[in-house]
Symmetry: C2
Subunit: 532 residues, 2 copies
């Protein structure tokens, strides 16, 4: 039995009396890792250390922060096979999936390092002094984004690496210049501990201030709420359920000093099939849809939970049925998630007017928490009458909705709440004909996919993994991709600051050769007497 403690900066701490263990979803038994639950004292200590660390960490150069991120990536790779096997026993995900997720996690850290080394992300703006302007001279004004303070990050159940301890939220917060306190997800605490120690090692090796990173354990909600309520925490990153995300949001906005919460709370990711595409590609779309719904036991935030089409005969649904019956389910991440999946499907099926269109099968049958893919069908009228049908059922399930014409499809789309993604399958003629649908979906979702599927979220500069409430609590940002760095910064304007005291991104010489807006011109040039 291995006993794991909180990571608080460069130390470990196990001051609590309560413990919990890492559960194997295949068997429902203990993985032989026991975790101290964090105490209020430990949470406060982590926040205090983060605040002290912030004083120094925010002054680290882009290059030094980049080295820190790259060293985290190295240290994660140095864990080796142990990370893969530990994660498998905690999540029931396959080795191939975990290896690929590790690759994504490493890649994400390195991409933020590249962003920092290049440096232009700070959006430097300079308006030089106009001492002779009348009636009032203009002072010298220089603007850039600066870090906001210690960030609380909540690990997600479904991405034990890429959205957890060293995941996107942590990477973007570190890149922004903010210390991070992660609350590990109780579904994979041993994986979290391994990654947490890798970050701790990286911080020590690269001389980052003690407290730049902490990792807290708890299998209830108390530690997380206490963390969000701690006055030293300045923003929150979260990926998970609507219920948990909204509870953190409510706690954050009720604080004496409210703070921003970037909660990604899931989505039904509707897919619309337009008539031309249906005619030309119906079969291919049906097959690819079945794969997208059931990929990784359907445990993706971007899993397509709704498919809307205008097909009048039963041909398309027959193809869908055939494709879906070939799919295989899998063991879900936790007993709780499995139970919620089974219950969610059952509850939707109990509605008058909702029918089972198809079921997948399972490769084995002797394992616990084994989800069977389930495809339901209904009409837009029934869908409209039952609010619960518009809520995400996390797992390998989707719902097919047939509408009679374009108008009904557009009305249906208009009634959607916020989504992470919306997908349209259409020929170019379809898309012109259904232009209004496109414009509606642009208000409903963070990412619009044409002739593809929403699963598979590329980490790059152009990605948006976000969307209007209730998909997230802040539609103005993304939690995947390089633009995520802007969640954890605020603009500062320096007026008449001497060159020697300006951050180097704002000095006349522009030593980092970053792109800046100087007197409203985009340029990498230094400021000289001529362009001042």
């Amino acid at each position: 039995m291995t006993i794991e403690k909180q990571i608080i900066g460069n130390q470990f701490s196990g001051l609590g009396n309560e413990t919990f263990y890492s559960c194997n979803p295949f068997t429902g038994t203990n993985n032989k890792f026991v975790f101290y639950k964090s105490t209020l004292g430990e949470i406060c200590l982590a926040a205090e250390k983060a605040t002290t660390a912030f004083k120094y960490y925010k002054l680290e150069s882009g290059v030094d922060k980049a080295t820190f991120l790259e060293t985290i990536a190295e240290e994660i790779m140095n864990i080796g096979e142990d990370l893969i096997t530990t994660c498998m026993t905690e999540t029931a995900l396959s080795a191939a999936r975990i290896e690929s997720e590790r690759g994504r996690t490493i890649n994400q850290l390195k991409m933020f390092a590249t962003l920092l080394r290049e440096g232009s992300w700070v959006d430097a703006r300079i308006d030089t002094a106009l001492p002779g302007r009348t009636p009032i001279p203009r002072p010298d004004l220089r603007f850039m984004y600066r870090p906001i303070g210690p960030i609380a990050v909540f690990g997600a159940s479904n991405f034990p690496l890429a959205f957890s301890v060293a995941g996107g939220d942590t990477a973007s917060a570190f890149a922004a210049g903010c210390p991070v306190i992660v609350k590990a997800h109780p579904a994979h605490p041993a994986t979290s501990a391994l990654v947490g120690k890798a970050i701790q090692q990286a911080a020590i090796k690269t001389n980052m201030p003690d407290g730049v990173f902490s990792l807290l354990f708890d299998n209830g909600i108390e530690a997380g709420i206490e963390l969000v309520k701690n006055p030293l925490i300045k923003a929150v990153g979260f990926t998970g359920s609507f219920k948990a995300g909204k509870a953190l949001y409510d706690a954050a906005v009720k604080r004496p000093e409210p703070i921003p919460v970037f909660a990604e709370m899931g989505s039904t990711n509707p897919v619309f099939i337009l008539p031309g595409a249906m005619k030309e590609q119906g079969k291919n779309i049906a097959e690819a849809f079945a794969v997208s719904v059931t990929l990784g036991a359907g445990q993706f935030c971007t899993n397509p939970g709704i498919l809307v089409h205008t097909c009048k005969d039963s041909e398309f649904e027959d193809i869908l049925k055939n494709s879906f019956e070939k799919t295989t389910g899998g063991v879900m991440l936790t007993p709780y998630i499995f139970k919620a999946y089974k219950g969610g499907v059952q509850q939707n099926l109990s509605i008058d007017g909702v029918r089972q269109l198809a079921k997948g099968h399972t490769a084995t049958s002797d394992e616990n928490n084994l989800a069977i893919p389930s495809l339901l069908a209904t009409t837009s009228a029934v869908f409209k009458d039952y609010q619960q049908l518009s809520e995400e059922v996390f797992g390998p399930s989707s719902m097919v909705i047939s509408v009679s014409n374009k108008e009904e499809m557009i009305n249906f789309a208009s009634n959607f709440a916020g989504q992470l993604t919306a997908t349209i399958h259409g020929t170019e003629e379809d898309l012109i004909e259904y232009n209004e649908l496109l414009h509606i979906l642009e208000q409903k979702a963070g990412r619009i996919i044409i002739n593809g599927f929403p699963t598979g979220v590329e980490v790059c500069s152009s990605m948006v993994h976000g969307g209007p409430f209730p998909a997230t609590t802040d539609s103005r940002t993304t939690s995947v991709g390089m633009a995520a760095i802007y969640r954890f910064v605020k603009p500062i304007c320096y007026q008449n600051m001497p060159q020697s005291l300006l951050p180097e991104e704002l000095t006349d010489m522009n030593p980092m050769k970053i792109y800046r807006l100087v007197n409203d011109m985009h340029t990498k040039e230094a400021i000289t007497k001529n362009n001042k």
Copy 2:
């Protein structure tokens, strides 16, 4: 007696039974303008019209939105002298001040027009497809900022033009592509009606959709709260008191769909004088400080409400006293504001350990609502014990705090809540010696001013008029300057969108020749086979 109605898109509406009048602060009497208070039905109609208008307005090109903004500027100028005289009778501000504020308002609209014509503000990012990438191909991904929806804007009492109906919030929301519903400030409804009609005219002349702009009147809080609670409103811009701003924030975050509130709620704008500057410039600083505190009867958000120094003898306070005694007060904006000013000064003076250091005088004595400049003094120990001393007293008042050394000054700064600005007077040696103070203030304020005064907020790309709570409800933005446009937009990612359906900012050809990030390179070039 002129009767004014709500402006709802291209129509006027006076469905209510209740009215209020425009008050002359010099006399306390009716300016002979009567206003219908908006009804719930009118508020809902304005929100519905804004939502319909949004469908079309968000598709207007940057050039067409720029023409709209420029036409608003022209229509405001076309009001002529009537705007100045009406505004004077409602605000007691001087003709020169109002003319200068009108210039600023016009300039602000034109600057956003220039930003739109140039077009790079949308932060276009393109990652082109990598169909041959293994193991998974990369789709074509294109990112840009798009408008968020109808915005509620609350006019401020102290800037009847530049922070009101056609002020910064309205200009930035229109520029972003969002319709605007303004709730006029009851301190200057007739001024608001004139400007509102100018915007209405500009919208009609430039063929903007009916509902892109509405103006509502109310002299209580009901209409504003109803507006914020309306589900069709997607964000809120506000400038005013902490109490009102926080009430709107609380209403917005409790909605079924929470929305962002950008409330600028004032600040005490501390000024720190370091020893070297005191020695070299003490007299000049004292004189300039007295002017900054009493400018426009002290009715600026950036009015310096606290001055901290380490001077051990009484020499500096003597100079301050002399300078301050030369200052003149003036008639305040409203009887309510005057009463709050008098009460605030009185309440602070009633604290044991707070003394009156100096008083200004008044040019006349027979007018109503005439504020007398008031300079108080205390110690950091007393300041720390009384929370009320850290709250803004809106008007020509400030408080001098003498501290015994550097350590006490830094401790004092550490305990500040969020501010719009923080000012340091120091020689270059001082600033190096007090480097820690600089770093603390960077966490406390949106703008750091060296050897100047915070009054005078330049409208330009580098300005930040914002700061941590309680100065604002969102430190990640600014309400003055070009970066304000980002409050009213959200990123959208288009995946595999055909060229013909992409916004032109994202097409391969880049017809607007804007700066874009293409495969992580900053460029104005079109995308061709070679760089794809």
